[in-house]
Amino acid sequence: MIAGLYNYWIVILLMMTGFYVVISSGNLVKKIIGLNLFQASVFILYISIGKIANGHVPILQEGVSNYSNPLPHVLILTAIVVGVSTTALGLALVVRIRETYDSVEEEEIHRQDESL
């Protein structure tokens, strides 16, 4: 049970770790790191789905009839691109926030805004 679904346990572990970091951390950069972990877990979920027992690499060759499903890999390539863009945009926003507030801590930023 545990050994057979090894990948999925890793997925759940990573997902919850990432999600927890996003929620609990007050540091804006760490939140983005958490978000990355969270997304990475979904990548592994998709890739695990594509694996077929005793399946070969999905390249057409003689004498092989059982191929792994290549589609989830293609899908997740797109999702990785989306994840990278999100991280880039998020970090760009953090840079601007740091320039404006001179801090990347949520509490400090809230404190400065309340004094407005």
Partner: protein
């Protein structure tokens, strides 16, 4: 010949125009491209709506690859209707954006602003038109990423934190949707919505199907800003540039609601989504709380953009209530409100943008005597406000009337009470503004100074549309009820 390619053009025109905007990067040229591309997609959406009304569903396969392998676009009455709303609002608001953006955004950023605008439009139209669940996720991220950038361009420094907060919550929502789509794919081996709808009933009674459904609805709940997942919305709309507030408030959450409808009705089917799963009860409770709590919070806002943002959360509550009824009448009310809310929030945010352009503020305290200083702008604001309350002869009345009728038909009278209470709360927050603008003593040096015509005309176009669709209901109610019937699988 070209009429066969309309579904592709719908998405490709704003996408390519966005690239041109980026290369050109001059404010006036970029604006012209944005306006032209928006107007072109509006024309395309009207042509498609016309075709769908006359001859039924349009199926389109990209590059001639048939559905299970290629990406298929499928335009039926429901998404043709939503496409029409999104592209029309983009066109009208982009007229207003020229003057508003010139005053609010630095010259060297304006090219980027219009690029992000067109990408956001591309994403919203793509989400609506696609018949492929993964393609939907990609377009969702295109529209989300560009809207984070648009919001961050607001002049107030809090725009940055608002955009950041939206980015975190929006990405969590989108990733939830991705997980949901992945689980459905694992279960059925297809991403095409039509195939999903055929294969899901056989495997509906599995934990994977239920988990996938849960991830999808929670992820969409974040995108819709359904209470209590709405926390990103008030700040995002309050600190974004005026034109962005108007555009996103009128379109972004509507498109997310459409996706929910698509998954609930077309992919999972009513029996599973609203019968076997407790979604109907959840939407009814959360929708009621959203209407009451967000309307109450709106009363206490000093920043009017923030007030309208909370009012948007309340309006989303009405949309959720319509879905929770799980009847064609309730769904008709939701689809009607989708359209009418886009009109009223568009008019209100555009009018606020005119006021921000002239007096540089959207705080209630600065509104004293504004009814005399900017009579036309405040006139449009009042019309939008009346529609928001749901006064008879305005569009807002029509959708609330249909919602109340649908609730009574189902026998859920507490919903009726919630709708009426929400409208009374709306009276309070709209009246505050009217009182301040027309009855408060204006500051000493008052002179009449209106916003330029390029801003006033869009405001009044939307205001007049609110009145027109309050009187002539054949068109909007006709399409909405036919679309609702088609979602329920009843051939109209």
């Amino acid at each position: 010949m070209i009429s066969e390619q309309l579904p592709a053009l719908q998405v490709v025109v704003p996408l390519i125009a966005a690239a041109f905007c980026l290369v050109l990067a001059r404010p006036l040229g970029a604006w012209l491209i944005t306006f032209a591309a928006s107007a072109a997609s509006m024309a395309v959406s009207f042509l498609m709506l016309n075709t769908v009304m006359d001859s039924g569903v349009i199926d389109y396969t990209f590059g001639g690859w048939a559905a299970p392998f290629g990406i298929a676009y499928r335009v039926d009455l429901v998404n043709a209707y939503v496409l029409m709303i999104v592209s029309t609002i983009s066109t009208v608001v982009s007229v207003f954006a020229r003057a508003s953006v010139t005053s609010e955004i630095e010259t060297h950023n304006q090219g980027f602003f219009y690029t992000a605008w067109l990408l956001c439009l591309t994403g919203l139209l793509g989400i609506t038109i696609t018949g492929d669940a993964f393609n939907l996720f990609v377009f969702l991220e295109i529209s989300s990423l560009s809207s984070y950038a648009l919001i961050a361009m607001g002049a107030d420094r809090r725009a940055l934190t608002a955009a950041y907060q939206y980015l975190i919550m929006g990405t969590i929502g989108a990733t939830f949707i991705l997980i949901g789509v992945g689980l459905l794919y694992a279960l059925t081996g297809t991403l095409n919505m039509l195939d999903l709808a055929q294969r899901l009933p056989d495997v509906a009674n599995t934990r994977t199907a239920r988990t996938g459904f849960a991830f999808l609805t929670v992820g969409l709940g974040l995108k819709i800003a359904l209470f209590p997942l709405h926390l990103w919305l008030p700040n995002a709309y309050a600190y974004a540039p005026s034109a962005v507030s108007a555009f996103l408030a009128a379109t972004a959450t509507k498109v997310a609601v459409y996706v929910l409808l698509r998954f609930v009705f077309s992919v999972f089917g009513v029996e599973f989504a609203l019968g076997a799963m407790p979604l109907a009860l959840g939407l009814a409770i959360l929708g009621s709380v959203a209407v009451l709590s967000a309307s109450t919070i709106a009363i206490f806002q000093q920043n009017l953009k923030r007030m309208l943002a909370y009012s948007s959360v309340a309006q989303i509550g009405y949309l959720a209530l319509g879905v929770s009824l799980a009847t064609p009448a309730g769904l008709t009310a939701t689809l009607l409100h989708l359209f009418n809310h886009a009109l009223m929030k568009g008019a209100l945010f555009v009018a606020l943008g005119c006021i921000a352009w002239r007096i540089g503020s959207s705080r209630l305290q600065d509104f004293a005597g504004l009814g005399y200083r900017m009579p036309w702008t405040m006139g449009a604001f009042v019309v939008g406000g009346l529609s928001l309350i749901g006064i008879p002869l305005t569009a807002g009345f029509i959708s609330k009337w249909h919602l109340i009728l649908a609730a009574l038909e189902k026998g859920w009278w507490p919903i009726t009470v919630v709708i009426i209470a929400g409208s009374l709360l709306a009276v309070i927050y709209v009246w505050q503004v009217v009182e301040r603008a027309y009855l408060a003593k204006p500051p000493a040096e008052t002179s009449r100074a209106e916003a330029p015509a390029s801003m006033l005309i869009p405001a009044w176009l939307l205001a007049i549309a609110n009145l027109y669709f309050g009187l002539h209901t054949d068109l909007s109610v006709g399409i909405a009820s036919r679309a609702a019937a088609s979602l329920f699988g009843v051939v109209p």
